[in-house]
Symmetry: none
Subunit: 221 residues, 2 copies
DNA sequence: CTTAATATTAGGCATATGCCCTATTGAAAT
DNA sequence: ATTTCAATAGGGCATATGCCTAATATTAAG
């Protein structure tokens, strides 16, 4: 991709002035390898800067910023300048945000307190086609990969199903009939039917398939 | 989790004798931190060894092995001994295998040619709750996370459903009854019922919910 | 052209389901 | 103390479903 004779051109998006300055200093420790281009105080400002000069290889992007946050900015940049690699910086390893950042096109995800050496490594790594991540973030990513269910928005409609109703719904979703469910839950078939009636009322549906569909959609089961 | 005074007990599963020996030597470089327990020449052998002695913290597991491969072994071990952390070792960064390994419960994924120092780091990292991965593997993981569609298709059993049967199945999955389906497809309810009978036979199920579950699982609809 | 697979329709029967009703118990809230 | 509600249980009825057999039409493959 990049000749070893060329410096890696890095831009930074970070609202905190001191932190931005600290990152700049860390980067300049490796002045032979890194060319520090500029810094935007938020996503919007960075975009304006890129508009004038997009000869940038990598962006270190804070997530939380005023005006336009890092996820939004990453999403725009990875569309507009797909060759630019984006490394998200954050203080938290929040699951949803990691996922959002990846969706937005971030190629790496570092916690802010990584030492200078690690940041350089990460930049080289990403230019090399790798994906730098802090170990705890890698672990979260694996969790998300293993269970993609949570990797989408929760539609958060509250149908107020009771615990028992959820249990019944799960059994329904496995294709069990009333008798089988009653045996599994140690209650009578009549009770199962009553629970299902109540579930239908709460979910506003009229058969098993629709109840399960709706439950899955709203992550009730 | 683990006191710093205690060594990390490591087992290895690797069929290649020389490579296994090389790994052992690398590990013994860090004899203060690592206690090398034993090595299985394949998944089956490792399981037998664990059966006798499962006081192991981490397993370095080769993927390709005769008798029982590393993914199968990881799946069994992570069920039977959930406290044991598994790091998969491989020469390729094959997307499907990475995903399978994660599903099987592997907590880390390293390329075989990592230097000794890196292996130690990875072991410590995993005992610390992190997830060690080679950068190129981290990148693949992100790809999978970004596009979970490809992350599951392997089951590919061919149930040989006809085009019409697929249409009926889709209608079933929306919760429609026979009459509604017949109206949507301009055929008689009898025909719908017959199609569904045939679907059940082909999918080896006996009600709508299970048919849809199976169809979804195997990406028939 | 002949055969095989698919699509279509239909009748019958036992069971499951959806939906209405009432009713008791225990726990939580007011 | 009274009310509310989840959980339990059951009866009854119309319809839906699962499963069997049988027959014809259409299409695809040989």
């Amino acid at each position: 991709m990049k000749e070893s004779t060329m410096k890696i051109r890095v831009a930074v998006a970070e609202d905190n002035k001191f932190l931005a300055e600290s990152i700049k200093e860390k980067l300049e420790l490796f002045s032979e390898d890194i060319e520090y281009k500029f810094r935007g105080a938020n996503g919007k400002e960075l975009l304006e800067l890129l508009d004038k000069d997009h000869t940038v290889d990598t962006i270190l992007m804070d997530i939380e910023m005023p005006e336009m946050d890092g996820i939004k900015a990453a999403s725009i940049i990875s569309n507009r300048y797909p060759q630019i690699k984006i490394i998200m910086l954050t203080v938290f390893d929040d699951e949803q945000r990691i996922f959002d950042a990846i969706q937005a096109g971030a190629m790496g995800y570092l916690l802010k307190d990584e030492p200078p050496q690690k940041i350089l490594e990460s930049i080289i790594m990403i230019m090399d086609g790798g994906a730098p991540m802090s170990p705890s973030i890698a672990a979260k990513s694996l969790q998300l990969l293993k269970n993609p269910a949570r990797a989408e928005q929760k539609t958060e409609a509250d149908f107020d199903l009771s615990k028992r109703e959820i249990e019944v719904l799960e059994q329904i979703s496995h294709g069990l009939d009333y008798k089988e469910i009653s045996e599994n839950l140690f209650i009578s078939p009549s009770t199962v039917r009553k629970h299902i009636e109540n579930i239908y009322k709460k979910l506003q549906v009229n058969n098993k398939m629709r109840a399960v569909k709706k439950a899955v959609k709203h992550k009730l089961i």
